[in-house]
Structure formats: structure tokens, C-alpha cells
């Protein structure tokens, strides 16, 4: 297997105060796999996905490293080439299905955008293809939904529409930014299964950004665990869950509910573990500057 997306020694700082946001992050997303990007709020997981997608805000400055997609460095190539590469090969499933669809445009128009832009479909063909896509994400009565506005649909349906839109251009890499966070638990499970099924069918690679270890255990092949923009542990999902090496990983796992072993209970993360993590970060920063 070869890496489709390869992030190498990526570092970024805040433009405002120069504080590090990403600290020497490296990760490889193999073709056809789901890579979980896990961490608490502010760990830098969203920043990484935004850098890959070229939508990072002006407040973040990449100071070092490469983001290699298909042999091209997304940090270095000209803006125009970058837009074409990202638009034609990458897709995003955003976090909040309530705001990710344009409230003023029909679902059908929004679904056909990418097909017409990157797949060379004419209006009629794109419309037909979009109907198939909606059917494929198990939306009942797709023809009706195409004519509706986003506010006619439930949150779960909107997320399905967004998934259909993401798979429309058959992207090589899909970035799912906490796609299930805004959904309730039962819908969450359906959406995850759908995502997994489509991913397997299309052989798409996925970067799955989440803070939910339970979700990671369900669908990810590989996992990168971040803390304060630094990789704490990295490996296959099996290794991370069965034989975690880092104390932070062990503490996080102990703090997650285990339906397979309710007796284990929930154990709050020990302050000492967090303190040790911060010490590691400080040591890292010291080496960088010293």
C-alpha cells in the first residue's frame, strides 16, 4: 500500500502571538483506509484538515513541513493549481449539517454543482446522477428531495445529502470533520455505517476527525492521537485500542464508556497524566528553540 496523503513534519503557529498550533506532525493516509484524527478541542485536528483543504484562516501560519497529495506539495504549489487539485480530488463532509447546505438554494442545485464543475456533466446528466447519489445514501423519494430546500430536511437527512455530495466527484480523499457530532446517537450510527459502506465501495481514503474514541473504534483503520498540536501516539486502530503505549492514550481509553465491559466504569483522566503531557510539549518546544 502507498500513502495517498502524506503529511510530513508539519508545524504551524498563530499569527497573533506566535504560539505553536501544530508541532512537527507527520501522518500517512494509506489508499482506501480510514485514518482517525483524534484529540480534544484545540488539539489541532481541525487545523490539519483545514490546511489539507486549503481553507485555513489567515490566523494560522504554516512554518515548516509538507502536505503531499499525489506527489504534489499542497503547501507549496500555486493557488490556482491547488484549487484544481483540491476541488477535483478532495471532498469535505462538514461538522454541522445545519449550516453546511446553502439555505437559499434547492438541494438538487447544490448536489449538481460539483458534477458539473469537475465531471463535465451537463445539467440533465448531473441531475440524473444526483438522483442516483441520493438513492445511494438511502434517501426516500430522491426526486422530491431534489426540489426541496435544506430546511425541509431533518439533520440526519441533511448529513446524508452532504455525504452524497461528497462522494459525487468520487474523490480520492475525503475529509470528514466530526460528521456525527451534531447528530443524536441512533442517527449517528446509521450515518457511520453509511459512510463506511460508501468508503468501501468507492475505495476512498478518509481522514476522520473526531474526539469520540467509540466512533474511532467502529470505523477507523489507523489512528493519530493529538494533544496540543503534537502527535502523542500513532498506529493501527487495533494497536491503539489493545496495546496503547502512551499514558495519555491509556487514560483516554479508561475515561471512555465501554459497552463491552460495563464493569470497567468511567475513570476521569488523572491530572498527573495531563501534566506529563504538558511537560512533554514544553520539552519539545525547548528543544526546538534551544
Amino acid at each position: 500500500m502507498s500513502a495517498l496523503l502524506s503529511i510530513e513534519n508539519l508545524s504551524a503557529v498563530s499569527r497573533r502571538d506566535g504560539k505553536p498550533i501544530l508541532r512537527d506532525v507527520s501522518l500517512q493516509v494509506e489508499s482506501g483506509t480510514i485514518h482517525g484524527l483524534v484529540g480534544e478541542s484545540g488539539a489541532g485536528k481541525s487545523t490539519i484538515s483545514k490546511i489539507v483543504l486549503g481553507i485555513v484562516s489567515g490566523g494560522v501560519v504554516v512554518t515548516a513541513g509538507r502536505v503531499m497529495l499525489d506527489g504534489k506539495d499542497l503547501v507549496q504549489i500555486p493557488e490556482r493549481d491547488k484549487r484544481i487539485l483540491i476541488g477535483s480530488q478532495l471532498a469535505l463532509i462538514p461538522q454541522d449539517p445545519l449550516t453546511a447546505l446553502n439555505p437559499g438554494r434547492h438541494i438538487g442545485d447544490q448536489l449538481t454543482d460539483s458534477l458539473r464543475m469537475w465531471k463535465g456533466f451537463n445539467r440533465k446528466a448531473a441531475w440524473a446522477r444526483a438522483l442516483e447519489l441520493l438513492d445511494h445514501v438511502a434517501i426516500r423519494d430522491p426526486a422530491r428531495v431534489m426540489d426541496q430546500f435544506p430546511h425541509h430536511l431533518s439533520g440526519g437527512m441533511r448529513q446524508r445529502v452532504l455525504i452524497a455530495a461528497a462522494f459525487a466527484i468520487e474523490p480520492k480523499l475525503l475529509i470528514a470533520d466530526e460528521p456525527t457530532t451534531a447528530l443524536d446517537a441512533t442517527v449517528q450510527k446509521q450515518v457511520l455505517q453509511l459512510l463506511k459502506r460508501l468508503q468501501a465501495e468507492h475505495g476512498t481514503s478518509v481522514v476522520f476527525v473526531t474526539h469520540d474514541l467509540g466512533v474511532v473504534a467502529q470505523i477507523c483503520d489507523d489512528v493519530t492521537l493529538l494533544f496540543q498540536g503534537k502527535v502523542m501516539e500513532q498506529g493501527t486502530a487495533a494497536t491503539i485500542f489493545n496495546a496503547p503505549r502512551h499514558a495519555y492514550t491509556r487514560a483516554l481509553l479508561a475515561a471512555s464508556p465501554r459497552y463491552d465491559n460495563p464493569a470497567a466504569g468511567l475513570n476521569p483522566i488523572d491530572d498527573a497524566v495531563i501534566a506529563a503531557c504538558y511537560a512533554q510539549i514544553q520539552q519539545f518546544d525547548g528543544v526546538q528553540h534551544g
Binding site: 483543504l53 486549503g54 481553507i55 484549487r83 484544481i84 483540491i86 476541488g87 477535483s88 478532495l90 471532498a91 469535505l92 462538514p94 461538522q95 454541522d96 449550516t99 453546511a100 447546505l101 446553502n102 439555505p103 437559499g104 438554494r105 434547492h106 438538487g108 442545485d109 454543482d113 460539483s114 464543475m117 469537475w118 440533465k124 441531475w127 440524473a128 438522483l131 442516483e132 438513492d135 445511494h136 438511502a138 426516500r140 430522491p142 426526486a143 431534489m146 426540489d147 430546500f149 430546511h151
Partner: protein, 295 residues
């Protein structure tokens, strides 16, 4: 999995929406009155019972039907020069509506474009536009319009230009704020990832969401333009005084209010009803058409 029959559907299903709009009482009443005015304006020559300029001093200051001393054929009476009030009112709708639609369209177009650019691109464009709007709005509207007409010379073109120059800020201000709000939404980010250009996003994604606000403002502006035109006619700065206008009739009627109050009352009532009708039409259209307001 369900088997779908794929039809190249006519997805722009506007028919039921348009039908719903016309069954809205506000649209029906407001729009109906405006439609009546448009018919009066277009067919003034045929509809008006008399020549609006024909004077007959023998028939001066005739009261409307129902009062003592009326003359048949002069339904709403005559002014002190013996000109038929109803005919003058009907001909006055021409100026009022032409000025309203042309001036409001220019103001809306300019204001929307400027507001979109300022709200979306921010930075120095926004700073320049915002300061300009603030300076603009610090001037009293009527005084500014009189000043502009005084510079350009009287006439309908001047009135239209004056109204557009004054009122583009109403659109620019609101559209700018709305654009800034929309720009933050995730769907704009999603469009960026998709590879849409910035102008493409502005025109294709943000504009459809801002258009409903513009529509509401546009109908308000139509009413305002009618009022400003009446004010300018009132002070004699609109079209030449031999063309009947509502403002001109009000000015004339004001002088003879104790002898012939009807000269003054009809255009005033017409003005009031027109502004109200435009406002109701706007509110009704927005209520029945804006997808976001339909939840």
C-alpha cells in the same frame, strides 16, 4: 434499495410557490392596488374623464359628487382653475410610478452590488464603503435631494438620479451586514473546497440568500421614492408645473384648503395608500417566497 425512475424533472417548481404568493392576503391587497395604479398610469389618456390641463373658470372649485353644487362628469370636483381633480390625479400616477420604479431599481442595484463587495471582501473596500455610507446618512435626505435637483436642474431625470443617489445606502448597509453573516456559514467554506471562485461564491451562493432582503427593501424604497417625488413636486423642483403630479396638487390644494379641500385630499390619500400598498406587498412577498422564512 428503492428503484428510482430518473426523470429530467423541471426542478424549478415555482408554480405552486407563485400561486401561494398570490393567495397571500397582503400580496393580493397590496399588489392589487399597485396593479390598479399601473393600469391608471398606462391608460391615463383613455381612463381620465377630462383633459387634466383643460381650464374652465366657470367650473372652478366644484365640490365632489354628493355635495351641494356639483356638476355632472366632475366626480371628484375641480380646482380653482376648473381642472378636473380626478383626471389630474390619474395623470399624476404616471410620474409617481415611473420615478418610483426607475429610481428604486437603480438604488437597489447599486446598493446591492456595493454591499455585497464590502461585506464579502472586507478590508479596505469595507472601510471605504462603510465611511461613505455613514457620511451619506448624516445628510438629511430631503435637503440633499433638493440640493441635487437644484444642481442638476429640475425634471424627471433629476428626480430619479437624486433618489438613487440618496437611497443606495439603504440597500448597501443592509446587504453588507447580511453578506458578512452569510460569509461565515459553512456552506461558503464547502463551496471554497469545491473550487468555486470568490466572485462565483458571491453571485451563486450568497446573492440568493440576500435577494429576499433586497426584495423587502425594494418595496419599501418604492413607497419612499413616491414620497420623495411628491416632496420635490411640492416645492416645485420636480417636473415642469404643467405636468400634473401628486405633489404639485398637494401644493396647489394647500393654498385653497378652505375653499376646495378636495384638491388637497385626493393626492394625499393616494400617496398614503400607495406607500401602504407597497409595504404590504413587500411583507407578503417575503413571507410567501423566501425559503428561509417559510419554516
Amino acid at each position: 434499495m428503492v428503484d428510482v425512475t430518473i426523470t429530467a424533472a423541471s426542478h424549478q417548481n415555482w408554480k405552486p410557490i407563485v400561486a401561494a404568493a398570490f393567495s397571500d392576503p397582503k400580496v393580493a391587497v397590496g399588489g392589487g392596488f399597485i396593479l390598479l395604479l399601473i393600469i391608471l398610469a398606462l391608460g391615463a389618456d383613455l381612463i381620465a374623464p377630462h383633459d387634466p390641463l383643460a381650464q374652465d373658470l366657470m367650473l372652478g372649485s366644484l365640490p365632489p359628487v354628493g355635495m351641494a353644487g356639483t356638476e355632472p362628469g366632475y366626480w371628484l370636483g375641480t380646482d380653482d382653475l376648473g381642472r378636473d381633480v380626478l383626471s389630474r390625479f390619474i395623470h399624476g400616477t404616471r410620474i409617481a410610478l415611473t420615478v418610483a420604479f426607475v429610481a428604486a431599481t437603480i438604488a437597489a442595484t447599486v446598493g446591492t452590488v456595493v454591499g455585497l463587495l464590502a461585506g464579502y471582501f472586507g478590508g479596505w473596500i469595507d472601510v471605504v464603503v462603510s465611511r461613505l455610507i455613514e457620511i451619506w446618512m448624516a445628510f438629511p435626505a430631503v435637503l440633499l435631494s433638493i440640493l441635487i435637483v437644484a444642481i442638476l436642474g429640475s425634471g424627471m431625470h433629476s428626480v430619479i438620479i437624486a433618489i438613487a443617489i440618496i437611497d443606495w445606502t439603504r440597500f448597501a448597509r443592509v446587504v453588507r451586514a447580511e453578506t458578512m453573516a452569510q460569509r461565515q456559514a459553512d456552506y461558503v467554506t464547502a463551496s471554497t473546497v469545491l473550487g468555486f471562485s470568490r466572485l462565483g461564491i458571491l453571485a451563486g451562493e450568497i446573492l440568493p440568500n440576500v435577494l429576499w432582503v433586497v426584495l423587502g427593501l425594494f418595496t419599501l424604497e418604492l413607497g419612499l421614492a413616491v414620497v420623495i417625488e411628491a416632496i420635490l413636486s411640492f416645492v416645485g423642483l420636480s417636473v415642469s408645473s404643467d405636468t400634473p403630479t401628486w405633489g404639485g396638487m398637494i401644493a396647489q390644494g394647500r393654498g385653497i384648503i378652505y375653499q376646495a379641500w378636495w384638491v388637497f385630499a385626493l393626492p394625499l390619500a393616494g400617496l398614503l395608500a400607495t406607500v401602504l400598498a407597497f409595504n404590504q406587498l413587500g411583507a407578503g412577498l417575503r413571507r410567501s417566497l423566501d425559503p428561509v422564512m417559510q419554516r
